[in-house]
Amino acid sequence: MTEELQEITLTVNGRRHVLAVQPRRLLVDVLRDDLGLPGTHIGCEHGVCGTCTVLLDDASVRACITLAVQADGRSVRTVEGLADGMRLHPLQEEFWDKQGLQCGYCTPGMLMRAVEILEQVPDPTPDQVREGIASNLCRCTGYQYIVEAVLAAAPRMRSENPWDPTVPTEAKA
């Protein structure tokens, strides 16, 4: 079958891209292969594992079960958009600090889902974080550290205090 290419406009991490894509292309593949943003991982390819989670118009979606054409005209945030230059996002710093990642495969999806959770609930309880990240699988099963990292990032995202790696964890609020 000759598929007609569809012209789509995606604003990814604030940058506008005009692309011609086959309708069958998944958003995750367009991000990784066409836009050179491989931070978003591909896992199960049927919407179960959550490692491909990105924010589409600020709402988390599975990029593996979203066609790129469905994202036409919309804004996408990926894990590459979290850091500010060389300065990591508070969630990234806390994942690092709290050992919130082991193999790292689920991490981009976990981070983007955590961004959405904290944008919706800036001061979550541990149960709200657990319930929230239940959408994403970590097969290292390091969930406890992920929960701790999200809870530690919450007050920092509210106050936007800069992270100081020279201060030991125990001394932080």
């Binding site: 079958m1 598929e3 007609e4 569809q6 086959q22 309708p23 069958r24 292309r25 998944l26 593949d29 390819e45 049927h46 919407g47 959550g50 989670t53 589409l56 709402a59 988390s60 979606v61 599975r62 593996c64 079960i65 979203t66 066609l67 054409v69 469905q70 889902r113 959405e116 319930e131 929230g132 239940a134 959408s135």
Partner: protein, 289 residues
């Protein structure tokens, strides 16, 4: 895997969408709303439509409105939007409660209420809610518009009364003044239900005057448990009425077993979910008076 090749259209009116569906019928054209059922099926190549008609640009399908005692939800309304909607909370709290059990927030951010009903997975939550609430679905085809009741809509697993040349544009829920409850058992958080039960109940002077009870996971379609409704209606609200409804509602059920639960286990789970739902709905009906 990835979806096989297909052609794609994103019409801006229902009439254009219906025309495209007719034009590409030979290519097994399919309608796309949120894609949370269709795209995984295409990734697995269980669905291989030659043409996909995306409803996302069709004007007027993304609204929730109250019209004459009915809650009307358009075909592009996302589940997450409905879950947070004050209109849904007011007119159909049963739907709001059930939406919290549909997969996970990232799926609900894309998936639509109407799409889940149209997909007609026998283990899904929203078809049971539609059945309990006597919902009506608006279908538009080449011959015009028609309404299909939920009771007529679900015909078998993933099989509905919708014609191949028709598009669902909205679902209409009738408000039910009284108590509600949606109770589900699933193997892990966010999975499809092994068994889910939806209950609506109205009381007057401590007696059950009207009820609606439906379940998922007990057959090829959601089932309306009319025997349970008849067994407790007219009785004084309380444990005896609930016992009678649980026994009547689960008598004669013969659900197919699968790797998640055998037939007898499913009935046991149904009894437990039904009891909890009847109790919670009754408590809420008492609170509402």
């Amino acid at each position: 895997m990835k979806p096989p090749p297909f052609r794609y259209s994103s019409p801006t009116t229902v009439a254009d969408a219906v025309a495209l569906l007719a034009e590409h019928a030979a290519d097994d054209a399919r309608v796309l709303a949120g894609g949370q059922s269709l795209v995984p099926l295409m990734n697995f190549r269980l669905a291989q439509p030659g043409h996909v008609i995306d409803l996302r640009r069709v004007a007027g399908l993304d609204t929730i409105r109250l019209a004459g005692g009915e809650l009307v939800i358009g075909a592009m309304v996302r589940q997450a939007t409905a879950e947070r909607s004050p209109e849904v909370a007011l007119a159909a709290p049963l739907l709001a409660e059930a939406l919290g059990h549909v997969a996970h927030p990232p799926i609900r951010n894309s998936g639509t209420v109407v799409g889940s009903i149209a997909h007609a997975d026998p283990a899904a939550e929203l078809p049971a809610v539609a059945l309990a609430m006597d919902a009506e679905l608006t279908a538009v085809g080449p011959g015009g518009e028609r309404r299909i009741t939920a009771a007529d809509f679900f015909q078998g697993p993933f099989t509905t009364a919708l014609g191949a040349d028709e598009i669902l544009t909205e679902v209409r829920f009738r408000s039910f003044p009284g108590g509600h409850a949606f109770v589900e058992f699933s193997r892990t958080h966010g999975n499809f239900a092994v068994v889910a039960v939806a209950v609506l109940v109205a009381l007057a002077d401590g007696r059950i005057t009207r009820s609606a009870i439906a379940a998922s996971g007990l057959g090829g379609t959601p089932l309306r448990l009319t025997a349970a409704e008849q067994a407790w209606e007219g009785s004084t609200a309380g444990s005896a009425a609930i016992d009678a409804a649980v026994d009547a509602g689960t008598a004669g059920l013969d659900p197919a077993g699968d790797l998640h639960a055998g037939s007898a286990t499913r009935i046991d789970i149904a009894r437990s979910c039904l009891r909890e739902a009847l109790e919670r709905a009754t408590e809420r009906a008492l609170d509402r008076r």
